[in-house]
């Protein structure tokens, strides 16, 4: 476990200045003519998901309750949005809250990692539905996309069926950090010519087999896996080479820093949905020490990524989600830990289609229950897609049946939609 408080004075100053400049740019963008904004409309929309795996504590992040029974040792600090306070463990993020909004009234009614994750990803409490990333890839990925649509940078994790009934090309592709994925390079014994002609033969064989009918979803999925493999092989360069020293200084040399740098590269090079997982928030013991370390790493790194997206103008077409499978219990256990808590917790959103600087929902004084504007994974799911300009009340059309994109019993959080 390494500590990285990463708050050297000079860095901080530079970041502040960078932020001031980009803030000004955003102001200008707000005054553009209709023609220009129409062009911006047509720009590809993207999603950046930062997943704080294990369940980040809402009390140590977006919904601090200092000085209350369960508040813990940390203070709340003011942010760039007047009147909005977040935990002092997020000083860099605090300065950028005018780009983000907080949802404070989430109640999933589950305390299970598995069920919480699926609810947050599928927008459904159960059943087999595609993840946010797969749905977004399906509706946002251009036909000629240079990369697979849904890329997940993570240091570990299980294989999920993220695309459910959607085509496998919208399924999540896992990347084990900034290294060349396994088997990406053609074997030396195979010449370029041989690779092309045998691949063409394979295509013919597979077309014939698909042509005889049968389960199209199976054969399509199989064929699409080779197309995705080819796209990745063509962009080997994205995984090679060391990031610049300057970038590493800003993002941090730890795995999360490098993973976020890869996420930026992927977004800049045509990635549609990029998810980065930051592991290790399941703090049943030593909640406060672990959050100090974990959020110390998250805070600055995430802000550098946010700044870069903002500076390049990509932020306004990129939906940014910072989320978990649940939060953590207000009650502090005997090991100074906080346990699983889906009952009253928060996430942060920003970018494409999201009103910035807002707080929606609230929890009671001690954070033991939602007191205002209760929402769950279903409402959030609709909100993401409405923010992306996708009608989440419409249906996926599959061969022979239709399935509603979002849970028909839930609605988007209108207050958050720009």
């Amino acid at each position: 476990m390494q500590r990285d408080h990463g708050c050297h004075r000079i860095d901080h100053a530079l970041t502040r200045r960078g932020f001031m400049a980009t803030g000004a740019a955003a102001g200008v963008a707000g005054l553009t003519t209709p023609a220009v904004s129409e062009q911006l409309e047509k720009k590809q929309k993207r999603v950046l998901q930062v997943y704080l795996q294990g369940g980040v504590s809402q009390l140590e992040s977006w919904d601090p309750k200092p000085g209350t029974l369960y508040g813990g040792p940390f203070r709340a600090i003011p942010t760039s949005v007047p009147g909005m306070h977040i935990c002092e463990l997020l000083p860099h993020t605090a300065q950028r809250m005018h780009l983000l909004s907080i949802v404070r009234g989430i109640n999933l009614k589950t305390n299970s990692h598995h069920d919480g994750r699926l609810f947050m990803e599928m927008g459904r409490r159960s059943g087999r539905f595609p993840y946010v990333g797969s749905v977004a890839a399906k509706y946002l990925m251009p036909d000629n996309a240079p990369l697979p649509g849904y890329l997940h940078v993570t240091t570990r994790g299980l294989t999920d069926y993220t695309n459910a009934f959607l085509d496998a090309r919208y399924g999540q592709l896992k990347l084990a950090g900034p290294k060349v994925p396994a088997n990406l390079v053609r074997p030396k014994t195979v010449t370029a010519d041989a690779a092309v002609r045998s691949r063409n033969l394979l295509k013919r064989l597979n077309q014939r087999f698909s042509g005889r009918g049968g389960q199209k979803t199976f054969t399509d999925s199989y064929n699409a896996s080779f197309d995705m493999a080819e796209k990745l092989m063509a962009r080997r360069d994205l995984f090679e080479g060391e990031p610049s020293g300057k970038d590493l200084d800003r993002y941090g040399r730890h795995p999360f820093g490098r993973n976020c740098l890869l996420a930026r590269t992927l977004l800049e090079n045509g990635g549609t949905v990029v998810k980065v997982t930051h592991h290790g928030y399941d703090t049943h013991a030593e909640n406060f020490n672990f959050h100090l370390e974990q959020l110390g790493e998250f805070d600055k790194t995430f802000c550098m990524l946010l700044d870069d997206l903002h500076t390049s103008g990509m932020l306004e077409s990129t939906l940014v989600m910072i989320y978990s499978e649940f939060g953590r219990t207000p009650k502090i256990n005997v090991r100074y830990g906080r346990d699983h808590w889906g009952t009253a917790w928060s996430i942060a959103l920003g970018g494409q289609g999201i009103v910035p600087g807002a707080i929606v929902g609230a929890t009671n004084k001690q954070g033991t229950a939602v007191s205002e504007r209760e929402v769950d994974g279903g409402h959030l799911f609709h909100t993401y897609f409405r923010a992306l300009g996708i009608d989440s009340t419409a249906y996926h059309t599959l061969d022979g049946r239709t399935v509603p994109i979002g849970d028909p019993a839930k609605q988007p959080i209108q207050e958050l939609l720009a």
Partner: protein, 591 residues
């Protein structure tokens, strides 16, 4: 009234006859009854139904389903050349495959996947578990016995420890093991969150969940302080209480399976121990609730047990469960063919849970032997009604074996394994002979009179290893490759029959070293043999027979011939052709 009364008498009489004559019942083939129910479930079934699959398709399909690999080129040729009526030779193939040692291998994989769902080995060595399953499959141990072994054993006894893997490699997390007993042995996910939107169903589920939990909640994970080995201990007290989802009242339950009666503890057993739980002693109560779980789950009153296994075996053969997903049987998700599921479950129960028998009966049905080429544009109806054969993605194990078989890599391993077994057997025999001689000499010295007229026991030097021993040794020899395929192709499929292919899998197939290694021409492997053939027709035939287990069509023959003309270096050409056929969807699926 009279009629119904008479039919009642007839029914009773019939039931008595059936009970009195289990042998007659046993001899009756199930396959025609299955087909009758399948075909009656859809009006104008024939207009939707695909024709019978070809002999070649059948042989590949049934070999994969019953022995986890594809037929050899030789077996394919022999089957296609067999001039007997198709039905006759198909029946014989089923019998022969079910009797082969490779069938135990298939069952081992199937049971492993079903029971452990690709969990990693934490507390129980995978090799011991696999050997346990293999032995059970070889003996065709009945599913109820196997279930009792797995549901009862706590792993304290080293001899039977592998049985406890179901519990121990779930770290005996009470919620997880309770849920998985429901899912895997009863086909019901009692934590099915979807149902929690429905208050009545939720109340049911809650009661069922806690009833099952009560069998297990006195058990606990015990870590031996010396060996650090984990096993299950059990206390002789403790009850399960829960808060009703209905009205917030507190409920208390004794162990019970679903809606069957609660099973109270016998009087005077509370706090009575064979071994009291302690820091160094694993608790053994006089009355074990976990022991009861094995009995109660497999009891004939518990219909869910028979329906679950019938559904799972059906899904393994047919590509889709009658209840799908396989672990979501409940009122809102009824079976597609309820009468059929009842029939399968009841007959399997009557046959003493003989899984091998049921697989054979399923393989004999028209439903199983239907072509996977759909008759109509929209295949949904046909698919739901098993009027068309379904594509089944090869399991990682089937995929590994089939690839090794097709490339000819397996034959090389087979030969070296056989040679090794033989030399080991020879060495053993030699040692034994030498020992016998020594012993005889010793004995002779000790008691010359006794030895007179007695010859030393003749050792059987000619004994060749049994087919089962060969099969076991072969499985062991290729185990590393099987694991590679499992790592690469196993997906968190849950208990469903779905398929999704990923880019890393495609990269493994396209660029991976392993496949390229197997494709490198040697003296005996497929590419080596193909490179030695001159005639393009012969190459096409051997290639298609060995990889896809069928003869090439005319256009496929000319495609091969064109390729051979275009790529003049023969070893390159045959390697590329084999590679393409191996990676084809036709190979990836059981069709």
């Amino acid at each position: 009234m009279g009629v119904s009364f008479r039919s009642l008498i007839v029914a009773v009489a019939f039931a008595q006859v059936a009970a009195a004559l289990p042998a007659a019942e046993k001899a009756k083939s199930l396959a025609p009854e299955i087909d009758r129910l399948i075909e009656a479930a859809l009006p104008e079934f024939a207009t939707h139904a695909s024709s019978t699959c070809s002999d070649a398709e059948f042989l590949r399909r049934v070999t994969l389903d019953l022995t986890a690999t594809i037929p050899s080129g030789e077996a394919t040729r022999r089957f296609l050349a067999d001039k007997r009526p198709s039905a006759e030779k198909r029946d014989e193939a089923i019998k022969q495959l079910l009797g082969s040692p490779a069938h135990a291998r298939r069952m081992q994989y199937l049971l492993d996947w079903m029971l452990m769902e690709r969990r990693t080995s934490e507390n129980v060595a995978s090799a011991g578990w696999q050997a346990y399953l293999r032995k059970a499959a070889t003996e065709n141990r009945s599913w109820d016995q196997l279930s009792r072994e797995i549901l009862v054993d706590g792993g304290a006894d080293a001899k039977t420890r592998p049985r406890a893997r179901f519990y121990l490699d779930r770290e005996f997390d009470l919620t997880v093991v309770t849920r998985d007993v429901g899912r895997i042995f009863l086909g019901k996910d009692l934590e099915c969150a979807q149902c929690h939107n429905h208050p009545v169903v939720e109340a049911y589920l809650q009661r069922h969940f806690h009833g099952l939990k009560a069998f297990l909640d006195r058990s606990y994970l015990f870590t031996d302080p010396k060996s650090k080995k984990k096993s299950l201990g059990e206390k002789a007290e403790g009850d399960v209480t829960f808060t009703s989802a209905f009205d917030d009242t507190k409920g208390k339950t004794d162990p019970r399976v679903l809606d069957l009666p609660e099973i109270p503890d016998p009087k005077g057993t509370s706090k009575q121990y064979v071994t009291k739980p302690g820091k160094t002693a694993v608790g053994v109560p006089k009355y074990s609730r976990r022991q009861q779980l094995g009995q109660a789950v497999t009891a004939k009153e518990n219909r869910a047990f028979r329906l679950n296994i019938a559904n799972r075996l059906w899904a393994a053969m047919m590509g889709r469960g009658l209840v799908e997903p396989l672990d979501l049987a409940h009122v809102a998700n009824p079976p597609s063919h309820p009468k059929l599921l009842d029939l399968l479950g009841d007959r399997l129960h009557a046959r003493g849970y003989d899984m091998r028998w049921l697989l054979g009966e399923l393989a004999r049905t028209r439903a199983y032997q239907r072509s996977s080429r759909p008759r109509e544009e929209s295949v949904d109806t046909a698919r739901r009604h098993f009027a068309v054969g379904l594509l089944k993605p090869l399991s990682p194990e089937q995929y590994a074996w089939a690839t090794m078989e097709a490339t000819g890599f397996l034959e090389a391993v087979q030969n070296s394994t056989l040679a090794k077994l033989k030399s080991e057997a020879d060495k053993k025999a030699k040692d034994k002979k030498a020992n016998d001689k020594k012993k005889a000499a010793k004995d002779a010295g000790k008691a010359k009179k006794d030895a007179a007229g007695k010859k030393p026991e003749k050792s059987n030097t000619e004994s060749s290893p049994s087919p089962a021993a060969v099969e076991a040794a072969l499985s062991k020899a290729v185990d590393g490759h099987i694991k590679t395929f499992v790592t690469q192709f196993a997906a968190d499929g849950g208990q469903s029959t779905s398929f999704s292919a990923t880019a890393p899998q495609a990269l493994f197939l396209v660029n991976g070293q392993l496949l390229r290694e197997w494709l490198k021409p040697t003296k005996t492997n497929l590419t080596g043999r193909l490179a030695k053939l001159d005639d393009s027709a012969a190459i096409a035939e051997e290639l298609y027979i060995v990889v896809l287990n069928r003869l090439p069509t005319a256009s496929e023959r000319s495609e091969v011939s064109e390729y051979l003309k275009k790529v003049t270096k023969r070893t390159d050409a045959v390697t590329e052709l084999t590679w393409a056929l191996l990676l084809s969807a036709e190979f990836r699926f059981n069709h």
